[in-house]
Symmetry: C2
Subunit: 309 residues, 2 copies
Amino acid sequence: MPEAEEVFAYLRGLQGGICARLKEIDGGGAVFREDAWTRDDGAGGVSRVMEGGAAIEKAGVNLSRVSGGRLPPAASARRPELAGRAFEAMGVSVIVHPLNPYAPTSHLNVRFFVATDPAGVSDPAWWFGGGFDLTPFYGFEADARDWHGMARAACEPFGPALYPRFKKWCDEYFHLKHRGEARGIGGLFFDDFDEGGFDRAFAFMRSVGDHYMEAYGPILERRKDMPYGQRERDFQLYRRGRYVEFNLLYDRGTLFGLQSGGRVESILVSMPPKVRWRYDWRPEAGTPEARLYEEFLRPRDWAEGSLEA
Amino acid sequence: MPEAEEVFAYLRGLQGGICARLKEIDGGGAVFREDAWTRDDGAGGVSRVMEGGAAIEKAGVNLSRVSGGRLPPAASARRPELAGRAFEAMGVSVIVHPLNPYAPTSHLNVRFFVATDPAGVSDPAWWFGGGFDLTPFYGFEADARDWHGMARAACEPFGPALYPRFKKWCDEYFHLKHRGEARGIGGLFFDDFDEGGFDRAFAFMRSVGDHYMEAYGPILERRKDMPYGQRERDFQLYRRGRYVEFNLLYDRGTLFGLQSGGRVESILVSMPPKVRWRYDWRPEAGTPEARLYEEFLRPRDWAEGSLEA
């Protein structure tokens, strides 16, 4: 599928743009280390990782492109009939763990799949997937509204139905079932997306990719230098444990990557740099920490009116 | 099955004995917090957890007893024909995360299952499972030899075949497939054990339970006060990440517990108190940290001659 090169060129540019912007916001002189990797079967990618920045404790911005003889059933939930076809997949995954507990963790993924008919009879099937979501440690209504406002803006050129649909999907996906808890305040999640044909679907994926730093950049900038103490840092490290639990217990990309022999260090770059677990700990009522659970870790309509579309 | 009460009484005593011994070794005045819990369906347990001890950064010693209408297929790997039967399960699970990086993390589990025939025709099926394993951060040959010597001693009264068989099973089970790395230096792992009838099988399970602190106590005592610095602490926190990865990605008890609606805080008490992840980090050649990987995180015959049985 010739369009795959076009998508890959976009993804490469997206990776570069996000790294440049993160480095600029960090401002501390830390650089992205770059690791290009290839596997015998032709899979490969470029991982860019920053650790120990002034504002960013750890960030991973991964570009990867893999192909295989047999599409795993998990890769296309909507069309199980494609399982077993030869496929090509490419994507960009981003995770940012800021140092300041008032700055939220954020995550982006955009990906493109092509499944080819081994008999060569029907056209290849293709689809896009991805989204972005935000995980605050301390809740700020303004951040949540801006984040979801930008998520809605990313969807708006494609009609009013997409934002509420993909916002809901995101809430459902980033849910820690064993805790009955949302991972964060959500954002967008979509998969198996080919609606309206290639040009429109690709444009939508680009819109999601392009809106990510537009949404996250200003939030990171206004929180990264807020004064904080040990209490806030402890809570951040504690809450990061939930991120680990989600990624290792539920995240399809992580589990698929590890099971299919992907590059472990690129996949697990999503792990937070420092984490704490405390037995049966709960924040005291009335504290900002309790407020996170009560007011932010429950799905809410942050982009006013947008769910009525 | 009337013997279930006898097993439960042993497990309760084992929990108490382990807590008392750990408190004694810790010596810092920290106490075990006790949480008794029950669920609507009759499941229940007592979790005992110590945090912030002088020598023990976190320890969890859990007793639990659950029953259900349908035995999950995973619970008896050897006899899938029992899946779906009513069952009762009880066990003790122990995890100790010492503060000193020279002191290894250790883990014990002993459990008893009964599956009853709903038609009441055949006798109930029952079996024991469990084992103990050690996860050092810095390798000491003496510790590894003593640990496996005690594992062999636990098996010896039951014939020479058990130690090599359950030592091998332990090496296979506590393996991080995605890293191609052993979790630690192993020990014993057994399941579906009913060989020789109830009295012998129960005696074997008791022997494993009773040898755990006999094996771990002296090692913890001789390592807990060794001088160490930030470098050793950093490596300990980094290596603890592997423990998290194993437990959330592979550990059957953890996954079964979370999926079956067990008490989350009791199950995840196994999580280390503090953890670090560093991207693509590797110890420098020739360092004590590199030695751990080269000489200890590979299955070895630590109990001299015992594998020839």
